[in-house]
Amino acid sequence: MAMSEESAMAGASDAERPRDESWRRRRAEELDAFHRILFDAPAPEPLLLRYLEAYSRFSALESTAPLVDRLIASHSDLEAIELAARLRDPDNPLTRRLKVLSYLAEARREYAAHFYAPPPGRLRGFVLLCVAAMRTAFKFSIGAVRRSELDGR
């Protein structure tokens, strides 16, 4: 297990990858898009640096970047497509990016309220869950139709 991880990381050396300004801008747009989904705001610069580091270490991000670039360029509903994809395959490229962002953000103090705010109480909690469930159903209905965009079709 550790061996495969080491070799996978080694196979993703910086030297093999394009790192021009255009590439960096696309990664920033990508991070912004996912950050707006999770936190409803653009991503701060320190998080972008960490995100680029993740690109350097995990080849699965680089190999699926063109697909994500295409979805962003076409203004697809990333959240809807991700949801539909996640329910079939939790390791799809969009969910992986959201997970990476979530880990990187969770370590930072300015995100503590998103992750560790106390629960809102029973009544508000049930209301919040109902709203989340309805919104999820709506997003899924969109994502189920557009999921094929993730396959490049």
């Binding site: 297990m1 999770l38 979530s102 370590a107 629960p119 809102p120 919040l128 869950l129």
Partner: protein
């Protein structure tokens, strides 16, 4: 002679064997990787207050915590950056190949127990079915170890399954979610007992009060991120204490590879990892306690046997998520130990062996470890998780493991262990358990039950099984002596002829102490 007795390994078995031989100046040798320096200032909450970014401690300079996003599942504890020392170097120094068995081997001081949940369970008579020794032979060693390591627990419905309550410390605090479950169980325990379900407080090697210079557990929320909390027992505490008191000697950075014997004693051969030179140690008796897999490797290599297949055991594991709707959205300020908060034993009428479960809260790990397991749109996962987490728990269910001809290991000439484990012995009980938990107001669904791949329990055992009359050179006697040797003893889980559902670590320790005590008492 370098020592009268050499103990190979410093994990649960090695530390307990060292304790049993503490008056005989044993030499403990192993690789002994140690944890990196702590990266947190105080508790996790205090660290968040004092530092704007806990990236290095929580995620890691090499983004270690992202492991499960891209690679096969590794437990949250083992993937944490400050816990990597537990399995560091193992893949290169003790290689193992398998398509079906995801093993973790530790070369750390204290072994895999650096990441254990601290569950300490005595095997009672029904657990020892198939063993050539009985509970009465282990009980004195359980008693001594209970005093040595400090175990918290309670005398409750699990008492008949968990054995003596002597010298137990008071149990840890119980958060509202779990006190509610326990309260509902106690009010109707007659019903549940008839159905074969018992619930109670766990026995865990975590100090609920200060003891022997060790502090009481402080609920610092760091258990998943760094080891070395002195309130949680790990075998390294015993090794360090014995070294400091001059009772044992300890030599680390030695990878033991083989042994040979002559009429005067045993020579243990290894590699000094710092100088990369071969080293040998002479002793009258050697105890192999390197963990079942590495002990099997050493024995096979010593005999240059690259053909024999040895049996291997490992508890299959299922995770059953459960929801208590009463607790949805309800805050609870009671801090929670992130290991087992409650235990359950399930043995319906007619079942041959009990099943053990540990009930955990969803605290302790990073939220990112499970956020996207919630079936919500991604914008909703964070708010929904805040509402659901106070109501969520998971039952970790272990299944017994019996020898199966398809589950086996061999050593090849390059020193690589090859493990085949196609038969994780799992029983279809989850639906029945969900039905019982529903009577406690806990809800789950069979489709959410998760089965971990073989090897994930880290309860490896059974390669050199103990019998009253060993008939093969790969069996051990009840005194721990490896058949075909004069003075080589096996003290770890390699000798277990089967694994019951209970976590086996405490019994590994008790048996290792028993074997070592036998050696200490032997003439000469």
């Amino acid at each position: 002679m370098d020592a009268d007795v050499i103990i190979v390994g410093s994990g649960a078995a090695g530390a307990a064997a060292a304790l049993g031989l503490a008056e005989h100046d044993p030499l403990v040798v192993d690789v002994g990787n140690e944890p990196p320096p702590d990266r947190f200032a105080g508790s996790l909450e205090e660290s968040r207050e004092s530092s704007p970014d806990l990236h290095d401690g929580l995620i890691g300079p090499d983004l270690e915590s992202l492991h499960n996003v891209f690679f096969p599942y590794l437990s949250p504890k083992l993937k944490a950056p400050l816990m990597r020392f537990i399995w560091a170097e193992a893949a290169s120094l003790t290689p193992l190949e398998s398509s079906s068995f995801h093993a973790v081997i530790s070369l750390a001081l204290g072994g895999l127990a650096n990441a254990w949940g601290a569950g300490t369970f005595r095997f009672i008579s029904e657990d020892l079915d198939g063993f050539p020794i009985g509970a009465e032979e282990l009980d004195p060693h359980y008693d001594l170890l209970t005093r040595e390591i400090g175990i918290s627990g309670a005398d409750d419905d699990l008492g008949p399954c968990f054995g003596s309550t002597r010298d137990l410390l008071p149990p840890l605090r119980l958060p509202a979610l779990f006190s509610g479950i326990l309260g509902r169980y106690v009010r109707r325990n007659g019903t549940f007992l008839r159905k074969g379900l018992r619930i109670g407080r766990p026995r865990i090697a975590v100090l609920s009060e200060a003891r022997d210079g060790r502090p009481a557990y402080e609920y610092d929320s760091l258990d998943f991120f760094q080891s070395g909390n002195p309130a949680i027992y790990t075998p390294s505490l015993t090794i360090q204490k014995l070294v400091h008191s001059g009772k044992i000697r300890y030599r680390n950075r030695i990878l033991v590879r083989s042994f040979d014997e002559d009429h005067e004693g045993v020579t243990v051969h290894g590699l000094d990892l710092d100088s990369t030179t071969r080293v040998s140690f002479r002793c009258r008796k050697a105890i192999l306690a390197a963990g079942a897999l590495n002990t099997a490797r050493i024995v096979l290599e010593s005999r240059r046997d690259y053909r024999t297949t040895l049996p291997i055991l490992d508890n299959a594991v299922s995770y059953i998520p459960l929801l208590d709707p009463r607790r949805i959205g309800v805050p609870d300020a009671t801090p929670c130990y992130p290991g087992a908060v409650l235990n359950a034993i399930y043995k319906p009428a007619g079942a041959s062996a009990p099943l053990q479960m540990s009930l955990y809260a969803f605290t302790g790990t990073l939220r990112s470890d499970f956020l996207f397991d919630f079936p919500f749109a991604s914008r909703d996962v964070l708010p929904a998780s805040r509402v659901l987490l106070p109501a969520l728990l998971v039952a970790q269910l272990f299944f017994p493991s019996l020898p199966h001809p398809a589950n086996r290991l061999t050593l090849d000439e390059t020193g690589r262990l090859r493990v085949e484990f196609p038969e994780p012995q799992r029983l279809p009980v989850e639906r029945r358990l969900l039905s019982l938990y529903r009577r406690l107001g806990l809800f789950g669904h069979p489709t959410l039950v998760r089965h971990l791949s073989p090897g994930s329990s880290f309860h490896y055992a059974g390669c050199l099984p103990m019998t009253r009359s060993p008939s093969s050179p790969y069996e051990t006697g009840i005194d721990g002596k490896l058949a075909g040797t004069r003075a080589v003893f096996i003290a770890d889980a390699a000798v277990f002829p089967r694994l019951p559902s209970k976590n086996h670590t405490f019994t590994v320790m008790a048996n290792a102490h028993r074997v070592a005590s036998g050696i200490a008492a032997a003439p000469g």
